[in-house]
Every structure is written in C-alpha cells, then in structure tokens.
C-alpha cells in the first residue's frame, strides 16, 4: 500500500539524530552499515567491479565532507547522508506496486524487495538521494533503520540500535523515538536546535541534524619575548628578539 498510513497519536517516530558538530567524517558508520546489511536478513548489498578500476556498489549511508564559511569562521562539516524516514515521503506515494511503504507503528520507510519491479521512480522522487538501485537483483534498496537489529529480542537491550549508531566512535549518531518529547533524541534536538534537511521541499524528515557550534574554547594570547619582566636580563632578551626578528 503506497497510500501513507494514518498515524496514531501515540505511534512512535523512530529515527536518527546526527551531530554535525562532533562527526569526524571517519566513515565508520557507512562501513558498519554496509557490513551489517550485506549479511542481514535482506541479503547481499551488491558490489560491482570490486577489485577493478571503477569499483561501485549499493550503500545506504554516504559520508560527504564540506567546507562552510570563510576566513576565521570557516569550518569543515562532515555530513553522513542516509534515508531520513520522512513523514511526507514522495518515494512511497509514487511507487506503482506497493513495494515502497511507510510503517504506521514507527514511521520506518521500507521496500518489499519481493514485490519491487525496479522502475526506479522512487529514487527520482527522493531529494536526498537515499535510494540506490541493486543491479544484481533488479530492485531498489534503502536504509531499513536496521529493523532486524532494533527489534531483535535476542540481543541485549543496549545493542538494539542501528549498526551506524552502535559503531560511531565520536558518539555523533543517536537513535530513538522522535515522537516522544522526553526521549534522549528529542531533548537533544530541542537543546541544540536540530534542523531538517531541505525543509523547503516539504518532505518533513524524521531524522534531524544538529548544526555545528562555534568554537567555545578560549585561546591564550600570543606570547612575545620578555613581555613579562624588567631588569638587565629582560632588556638583553628584548635586544636579542629585535635582532632575530629582522
């Protein structure tokens, strides 16, 4: 069913909160995502020309690095990009078969690869480039929010989180229920002014990004020779500094 489900007022909105301030751009989340999802229940995530000149393949998570601002206020912004599990997902409504769907109970957007005909229209409808085509199986693939981890009761509760979140060494990725105002992720979004990507397109993403902060660490003023004392020693040092600075 590609009609969007009616959301119960109590339904959860599971998603990620990604901290652009602390992300170091190490690609560990992307690697662990690939690792988990190529061996998970959904089967292999294909790679093409693996050891050749033009390696290529399907990834659910891609890490970009950008530079923002200029001069003293310039900074590097590392940016992980994956499905945002939108509340208004055009990728779902354009699907002609019902393979692309949004779950009513937790808002996760999934693809039923047993039904998908591989028309690629959903990938055209996503402004975030979150869907990639599986050439080996002729179907579309995307982030599942590790649905086979987060509800796996055989795992200890602390491990029931997506692979990308579990592996992040900078703790820049957070997972939780964004419909619950008291959840850790909702509080983070509130405190840090979490934002939507491309709000002007109206997809209302569930995942939020915490913007980079301005550096807060004060730096000591530059030292100069002999600025701290009097006497003959200081005078000599000043003379030496002058001579050497020529």
């Amino acid at each position: 069913m590609t009609m969007l489900p009616k959301r119960e007022p109590t339904a959860r909105k599971m998603g990620l909160v990604i901290d652009l301030d602390t992300c170091v751009g190490c690609h560990a989340c992307a690697v662990n995502c690939k690792e988990w999802n190529t061996g998970g229940e959904a089967g292999i995530l294909p790679d093409y020309d693996k050891y050749g000149a033009n390696p290529d393949g399907v990834w659910f998570n891609r890490i970009h690095s950008y530079e923002s601002g200029s001069g003293e206020s310039s900074r590097t912004v590392n940016f992980p990009r994956s499905c945002l599990h939108c509340e208004n997902p055009l990728c779902v409504t354009v699907c002609p078969t019902g393979a692309s769907f949004k779950r009513a109970e937790d808002g996760i957007v999934l693809i039923d690869t047993d039904i998908c005909i591989g028309c690629k229209l959903c990938s055209w409808a996503c402004p975030y480039g979150a869907r990639e085509f599986d050439e080996d199986n002729g179907v579309m693939r995307k982030c599942t929010l590790c649905i086979d981890r987060i509800y796996d009761e055989s795992r200890p509760p602390a491990e029931r989180e997506p692979a990308c979140v579990a592996t992040c060494p900078a703790k820049a990725r957070h997972f939780g229920d964004l419909a619950d105002p008291d959840s850790k992720v909702s509080k983070l979004v509130k405190e840090r002014g979490g934002t939507d990507l491309l709000p002007e397109l109206g997809y209302r993403p569930t995942n939020k990004y915490l913007p980079p902060r301005r550096a807060q660490i004060p730096t000591a003023p530059r030292e100069s020779a002999g600025s701290g004392g009097r006497g003959i020693g200081t005078a000599l040092l000043k003379l030496l500094d002058k001579a050497l600075s020529r």
């Binding site: 590609t2 009609m3 969007l4 652009l20 751009g25 690609h27 992307a30 033009n54 390696p55 290529d56 393949g57 990834w59 891609r62 890490i63 970009h64 690095s65 950008y66 530079e67 923002s68 601002g69 200029s70 912004v77 940016f79 990009r81 055009l90 409504t93 354009v94 699907c95 002609p96 078969t97 019902g98 039904i115 998908c116 005909i117 591989g118 028309c119 690629k120 229209l121 990938s123 055209w124 996503c126 402004p127 975030y128 480039g129 990639e132 085509f133 599986d134 050439e135 199986n137 002729g138 579309m140 934002t195 939507d196 990507l197 491309l198 709000p199 002007e200 397109l201 913007p211 980079p212």
Partner: protein, 311 residues
C-alpha cells in the same frame, strides 16, 4: 536526469499513438464521411500497434519485468500506476469504437465511442505527463508546463500521422493537415514558453540547506564519499554540455516543430501532399525524440547538490 532509451521511446511512441487515436475518435464524432471507414479502422490498428510497442518498450526499463503486472495496483496514489491502468482501459474503449465504426459507421454509438476513445487516449497521455510533473525534486518537470505540453505534443504528433493516413486514403491531406499544422504551431509556442520558464527558474535549494545549515550560509564540497560514479550520479547527475544543449535545442525547434509545420502547410495546399505529409511524420518523430532526450538531459535533480553539482 539520465535519458533512458526505453523511456524516450515509450513517451514518443505513445504520444503518436494516443494522439492519432484521439484525432480518429474526434473525426468520427464530428461526422466523418462513410468513405473514411477504412481510414478510421486502419488508423486504429496503427495506433494500437504503436501504443503497444511503446508500452513494451517501457517494460524493458524495469529491473524485474516479470513483476510488471504489480504496477496496476497503486492507482490511488501513483501516477505511474494510473498510467498503466489508463493504458489498459484504453484498449477496450478503442476496440469497441473501431467495432461500432465497422458495423455502423457514423452511427450514434460510433460517435459516442469516438469521444470516449479520444478521452481515454488523452487521459493516458495525461497520466504519463503527471509522472514527471509530480516529481518535486526536479524543477524542470514539476511545473505547470509539463502536463499541457505532453498533451499538445501528442495531438501534434498524432495529427501528422492522421494527416498522412488521410492523404493515403483520399489522395489529399485536406483539413487534417491544417489541424496538424495548427497543433505544430501550438507545440512550437509551448516549447519556447517551457524553455523560457525553466531558464528563468532559480534552483530549488542550496547546498547549505541540503546539509542542514542556514539557507544562505556558504558551503562547498571538500571530499566526496566515493571517487567513482555511483547510482545517484549516473541516474540523477546526468549532465549535458551547454554548447551541445544550445545546438540540440535548435535542432529540436527545426526538426520537431518548424519542418513538420511547413510540411503540413504544404500538404494542406496540395504541394506533393503524400511526400509532404510523410515528411512531416518523419521529422516529427526524429525531432520529438531529440526533444524528449533534452527534456531528460536538461532536467536537474536536487540530490545532485550533495555532489556539488549545479541544479
């Protein structure tokens, strides 16, 4: 956007086919002479074959062709599904139209079914156009020009085919060529208006807003996630050199619209009517394929922003 051959063929062929079927339906509804029965029946045959070829070509684009039947299920939300349903529903309407025209040419039933066949045919073209017009991340498609333009191009290309069949049947192109010429002029003006519109559009978003920074912050790519192409870049990041695009636009104007317009006028005034109307069809076919290629190649997708592309 990547111009896939199967989709270019689909939209061009179904444009000719449904345009022709629409003209034939309206022709009978408006009171075609009895002698036109062969023209109508032959035309319906040609239209059905062309439409079928187009639909088969579109199925070639699928990753899992054997599952194509599933595409008829989500007509409540998906324009692609609606296109499939409309295309399938058009067959019985058009065949019933042809049957009544065969049994009782020019009768009330044939005339009513003629109107129905025209509506079903143009409805299918409208659904095809809406697949593109409904895609928000592509400004060159998601605008008020796309749907009316597709309808106009169908009426124009189908019109040249109608005029050719008219000439083959009666030896003169007559009013059919005049209609084709009018439609060609309308299509030409629509294309110029479309280019004017998309060239004046501003990008839908900035890189800054794509990565969650305030919209007017400056941002530029530093490192890409991968150093070879991936699906997103191949499918959504297709680029056509500006100088080629300028040339191709000129070729489109001349081949798709100006030449068929001139040929249709010539056919109408009985200057080598058969050659002229055949040339109009040939030029329209090649020209509209070029036009459709540009419609895809010059369309930009918001997701290409992430790779530092201009959209």
């Amino acid at each position: 956007m990547k111009p896939a051959a199967s989709i270019l063929l689909l939209t061009t062929l179904t444009g000719f086919a449904y345009g022709l079927l629409a003209w034939l339906g309206l022709y009978v509804a408006a009171g075609a002479p009895l002698a036109a029965r062969t023209l109508v029946l032959g035309g319906v045959g040609a239209g059905v074959v062309l439409a079928t070829l187009g639909l088969i070509s579109s199925a070639m684009h699928l990753g899992r062709k054997e599952r194509a039947w599933r595409a008829f299920s989500q007509w409540r939300s998906s324009w692609l599904s609606r296109e499939g349903v409309a295309a399938v529903l058009t067959y019985p309407v058009v065949l019933a139209f042809a049957w009544t025209e065969y049994r009782a040419p020019g009768g009330l039933a044939a005339r009513a079914l003629g109107v129905a066949a025209a509506l079903a045919s143009l409805g299918t073209v409208f659904c095809t156009a809406m697949i593109y017009a409904s895609l928000k991340p592509i400004r060159q498609w998601h605008n008020p020009h796309t749907a009316p333009d597709y309808l106009l191009y169908a009426l124009f290309s189908g019109g040249t085919l109608f005029a050719l069949l008219h000439t083959v049947t009666f030896g003169v192109a007559g009013g059919a060529a005049a209609l084709a010429a009018l439609a060609a002029l309308g299509a030409l003006i629509a294309k110029l208006a479309y280019w004017r519109h998309v060239d004046a559009q501003s990008p839908l978003a900035t890189l800054a807003s794509a990565i969650g920074l305030p919209k007017d912050t400056s941002a530029r790519p530093l490192d890409a996630p991968h150093f070879t192409e991936n699906f997103i870049l191949r499918e959504m990041g297709f680029q056509v050199a500006r100088r080629h695009a300028v040339k191709l636009r000129r070729i489109t104007l001349v081949l798709a619209f100006a030449l068929p317009l001139a040929c249709s006028v010539a056919a109408h005034f009985e200057v080598l009517p058969l050659t002229s109307s055949a040339l109009a069809v040939a030029c329209a076919a090649l020209g509209l394929l070029t036009e459709r290629w540009l419609f895809f190649a010059q369309a930009t997708h918001v997701s290409a922003l992430y790779y530092g592309r201009k959209i």
